[in-house]
């Protein structure tokens, strides 16, 4: 810390009543209004809210990256006691990268792909300081060591595409730290990363915060992440700060209906559909031009709205010193909004109905293999000579799905979840093994399958923006499968479509809409309706909610559950969010590098004995509760290449529990592990005997309580 001691107080950044607007064709649009917060040294302030709430705009406002049409129209931003509003770009340039640095969401885009990493890092130093190239290089190496980068000297001369996503983000963080900045703004720094990598990066940030004494602003939409890293929380909604306070106060005692809604709409780790309900927030964040200036901005979506709410925009109500909420009922909100307290579901779940149907088997995978040949550019392989290499995307997977049940598939990206279902649906050719659907062979591709079998398997996709064909109306897209599979007579097609629209809770007026007129959640509903149109026995959901905002996520999950009850379809549910999978599924399969390593009933998976990989995944899940004690078990290294998977147990290169075996787990490197059946009805693929695994304590205290 060189000159930060110049500022007398502990406060690094003070934002007061900030207002930002954008000039558009329709005149000025208010993007940020009435935002105030303070960040002190070695303190992290979290900004949370759904997309479109203005979180990033604040970050850009601080360093004035608002673009040609954005401007700060009011309020003040004081950085180390000096006013930033009204400063020229030239003056700000001196600060940016030196005293204030930023970390963005996608590290791939933050790094220049054609410049060596070392050079990019050193530039940060040489640009702002009078420092020799050699000295800068040395400092960079030290810094990379500091962010736990392995093989530092080597990394310095590599290019961004040669290292993994998690390592790239470490580089970006190192770059942000190099000049010992007083303020670091992080805009969704872990959103693009896998959960295990995310956990490691968050640990790192926590460590660095104390070592470097910097002030942090942490922007995210994920309540679990924010709970882990922040000291102080600001909840943003539609450009306004609706609640702010110390993190524990807000999570223990949320006072704004929006905060309460956000907390009630995500499943906690360990909660299941039998034990609790999710409460979605109705509607969606209004676009800036449609925000009312005369009433509470949250009024249209608030469940407890009264006439008084519509009279004026509410100011802040102080609950305890430091904890304020922008709601006129903030003090007695418990009387108005009992939602949070009554989350536990009282009614009897549909579970008994489902267990009756258990006997009938719908799908069985038997040693299924899906390999991709890799295309090498060498002349030898071009001529068809030489040895062919394969990416073993799915290797030896054996699974059974019973009728009416939901199978959840979890794992990091690249573990073969999607390929597995592509093989099932017939979009990928199966390389080996057996696959039966309702007793019929299903190893051939979709083009050579019988229409009857195609009809019984439909898919719901991840990305709401590309799930619907933008050229056709909603109605015609839902009608297409009905016509193709003749599920309704010709004259009845339109009625059938309207029935389906109703089933997914969309009004019939949506029949003639084009996809671009729909919001993300609505598009996803239409996608679900389209999958339902052929009355399939099996619906495969490939990350159906991961691209949606949390409040909409809950609504879509509830819809899928409801549909499963009404239509009685079986589901395969793929997701990387372990809380959501747990909530949704009856059975869960954990995949790693093309192999299923653990499978069984959902509640058994989330309790010891764990497979070491499952244990690591669970301990990495961000839990939206700062008071939950979670075990810290981190995986080292990267997922190995599926082109050349490790011998023996595929997980042995990263396994944190090898030391439980004699000789430090030599057997893991040479022999394939056996399946071990536990008493709770689940199977684990591991060398470590079950008795040993059972001794491991539960990852999250609340997880065991809920199950």
């Amino acid at each position: 810390m060189q000159d930060s001691s110049a500022s007398t107080s502990n406060t690094v950044l003070e934002v007061e009543n900030l207002q930002i607007s954008y000039e558009t064709r329709k005149g000025d649009v208010e993007a940020i209004q009435g935002v105030s917060f303070k960040v002190g040294e070695a303190e992290t302030v979290g900004l949370v809210g759904e997309s479109g709430c203005g979180k990033s705009t604040i970050a850009f406002g601080i360093v004035n990256f608002l673009g040609s049409n954005g401007k700060i129209v009011g309020g003040s931003i004081r950085f180390q006691g000096k006013e930033l509003v009204g400063r020229s770009q030239e003056e700000l340039k001196e600060l940016r990268g030196d005293r204030i640095s930023m970390v963005f969401q996608d590290p791939m885009q933050a790094l220049n792909p054609s410049v060596q990493l070392g050079e990019q890092l050193a530039e940060v130093l040489t640009c702002h300081k009078d420092i020799s190239q050699k000295e800068a290089w040395e400092r960079c190496i030290q810094m990379l060591k500091r962010v736990n980068m392995p093989d530092v000297e080597n990394v310095m001369i590599r290019y961004p595409h040669q290292i993994s996503g998690g390592q790239q983000q470490r580089i970006v963080i190192a770059m942000a730290m190099l000049n010992n900045p007083a303020l670091i703004i992080m805009d969704e720094p872990t959103t693009a990363l896998d959960v295990t990598v995310e956990a490691a990066v968050l640990d790192l940030l926590e460590e660095l915060k104390h070592d470097f004494n910097a002030a942090n602003i942490f922007i995210t939409h994920n309540l679990g992440v924010v709970a882990r890293v922040s000291d102080y929380l600001c909840v943003m909604y539609a450009g306004q700060m609706v609640e702010s306070g110390p993190i524990k106060d807000i999570f223990r005692n949320p006072r704004h209906p929006y905060t309460r809604g956000l907390l009630a709409c995500v499943p906690r780790l360990g909660e299941s559909k039998e034990s609790s309900v999710l409460h979605p927030i109705r509607g969606r964040v209004p676009p800036p031009a449609e925000r009312s200036k005369t009433e509470c901005i949250f009024a249209p979506r608030c469940e407890f709205v009264t006439e008084d709410c519509r009279k004026a925009r509410p100011g802040f109500t102080e609950i305890i010193p430091g904890h304020t909420a922008r709601c006129i009922y903030a003090l007695d909100i418990e009387d108005h909004s009992p939602a949070v307290k009554k989350r536990r579901k009282a009614k009897e779940g549909p579970a008994p109905v489902q267990t009756e149907a258990l006997s009938e088997e719908l799908i069985s995978f038997d040693k299924l293999k899906v390999y991709y040949p890799t295309e090498s550019n060498s002349l030898v392989s071009l001529l068809g000579l030489g040895e062919k290499k394969y990416v073993k995307a799915v290797d030896d997977v054996s699974l059974r799905v019973a009728k009416g049940r939901t199978l959840g598939v979890v794992g990091e990206s690249g573990c073969g979840k999607s390929t597995l279902v592509k093989g099932l649906i017939g979009l990928e050719a199966v390389t080996g093994g057996d696959l039966e659907f309702m007793g019929f062979d299903a190893t051939q591709r979709v083009t050579s399958r019988d229409t009857k079998m195609i009809k019984e398997m439909q898919m719901v996709f991840q990305n709401p923006d590309s799930t619907l064909n933008p050229s056709y109306t909603v109605g015609s897209q839902i009608a297409r499968p009905i016509k193709r599979f003749k599920t309704a007579p010709r004259g009845e097609v339109k009625n059938e479509v309207i029935k389906l629209l109703k089933a997914v809770r969309l009004p019939p007026t949506y029949y003639d809409r084009l996809p671009r007129q729909l919001s993300g959640g609505e598009k996803q509903r239409v996608g679900i309706a389209r999958a339902l149109a052929s009355r399939p026995d099996l619906i495969v959901c490939d990350e159906p909610v991961s691209a949606l905002d949390v409040s909409v996520q809950a609504a879509v999950i509830n819809l899928l559950l409801e549909i499963q009850q009404v239509f009685g379809s079986s589901m395969i549910f793929i997701a990387h969010d372990l809380s959501v999978v747990r909530y949704f599924s009856d059975d869960i399969a954990v995949m790693y590098l093309g192999h299923v390593v653990e499978i069984g009933p959902a509640d058994a998976i989330y309790m010891p004995p764990y497979h070491p990989y499952t244990e690591a995944l669970l301990s990495a899940v961000p839990v939206p509760d700062p008071e939950v004690a979670q075990k810290e078990l981190r995986l080292s290294g990267n997922v190995p290449s599926a082109l050349d998977p490790p011998s023996g147990c595929v997980f042995h290169t990263r396994c944190p529990r090898r030391n439980m075996l004699s000789e430090d787990g030599n057997i893991c490197e040479t022999e394939r592990p056996p399946w071990r059946d536990s008493a709770r009805g689940h199977r684990i693929l591991c060398h470590i005997p079950l008795k040993e695994l059972e001794k491991v304590e539960a990852v999250v205290s609340s997880a065991s309580a809920a199950a």
């Binding site: 109705r282 509607g283 249209p300 195609i454 398997m457 996709f461």
Partner: protein, 310 residues
């Protein structure tokens, strides 16, 4: 609770997205760009005079006035006459007719839609089909199609035109054929690249999951989403086609005389520039220039505006 999501979505009153509404949406994009409007005016002028040619002049393009050859503009002949005393205005607008409104197949038989338009449309159909197949199937099908088209693109365009026309003989039908052969590779490349992008979208996965045939996926799911760039490209191509017609006419390989053809008018009129009557050469040049520039402006303006709206 699940119903709640759309409860507050403002229910806009909207009619069925009928043809007029869509047309209006398209036009409003067009009018937002001044460049596009200028282009549109130029193009519409030529389309108008071509359609109503018989009403806009008392002469026919072939009527010869022996007493008044090579004259400048006058009251009787507003743009003057050529070396055979034919009215230049009549020849110009009947020439536009051949380009934009009719395709003469034989003496007494013609098809609606001008020669240039037909050339582009046929090239578009074949090029789009090839591009879709190459882009969607990939692999060796793509390889064969693209290498064949590359081979065609390797031949200089003018040379290709001349080879084709010399082999087939000069007629309007053969001009269309030549334009198709020359235009196909470029269109196929464009459509292929668009297809390769669109085929990765999830709605294509959904169609495949439904077991739709490849033809359905290519023409019903993919093609409509590629239409924007294709339409703009087609407009530019009509411009190129008019240029090509002019070139072929000039070289004597176009629509055979005596039918009015801008290219052959320039070629003939050129001989009389130095003898003091440049009109017969000038007017068709102006016609080609304004129409081609108009189409280019229209395409550019549309492209800019449609990009902005994305």
């Amino acid at each position: 609770m699940a119903t709640a999501e759309q409860a507050t979505v403002p229910i806009t009153i909207e009619a069925k997205p009928g043809i007029f509404r869509r047309l209006w949406a398209g036009l409003s994009i067009l009018f937002a760009s001044k460049i596009a409007v200028v282009g549109l005016v130029l193009v519409l002028f030529w389309v108008f005079v071509a359609i109503f040619a018989p009403l806009l002049t008392p002469y026919t393009p072939l009527e010869q006035d022996w007493k008044a050859p090579n004259q400048g503009p006058s009251r009787a002949h507003i743009l003057g006459t050529d070396e055979l005393g034919r009215d230049l205005w009549a020849r110009m607008i009947y020439g536009a007719r051949v380009v934009l409104v009719i395709l003469p197949i034989s003496e007494n038989f013609w098809l609606p839609g001008g020669t240039a338009i037909w050339g582009v449309i046929v090239a578009l159909i074949i090029g789009a089909a090839l591009g879709l197949m190459g882009g969607y199937y990939g692999g060796w099908i793509d390889e064969i199609i693209m290498r064949l088209l590359d081979a065609m693109m390797a031949i200089p365009i003018i040379l290709l035109y001349m080879i084709i026309m010399a082999a087939l003989g000069a007629s309007a039908f053969n001009v269309v054929l030549a334009m198709t052969i020359v235009g196909t590779p470029g269109i196929a490349r464009l459509v292929r690249s668009l297809t390769m992008d669109i085929r990765t979208r999830e709605y294509i996965r959904a169609a495949e999951t439904r077991g739709e045939s490849p033809w359905f996926i290519m023409f019903v799911e993919i093609l409509p989403n590629a239409r924007g760039p294709i339409i703009i490209d087609a407009m530019l191509r009509v411009g190129y086609a008019i240029f090509a017609m002019g070139t072929l006419g000039f070289l004597g390989l176009g629509i055979p005389p005596p039918s009015p053809d801008w290219g052959s008018m320039v070629a003939k009129g050129r001989e009389f520039i130095l003898s003091g009557s440049p009109w017969a050469c000038l007017w068709p040049c102006v016609a080609i220039a304004t129409l081609v520039v108009g189409l280019n402006l229209l395409a550019d303006g549309l492209r800019e505006e449609s990009m902005r709206y994305q």
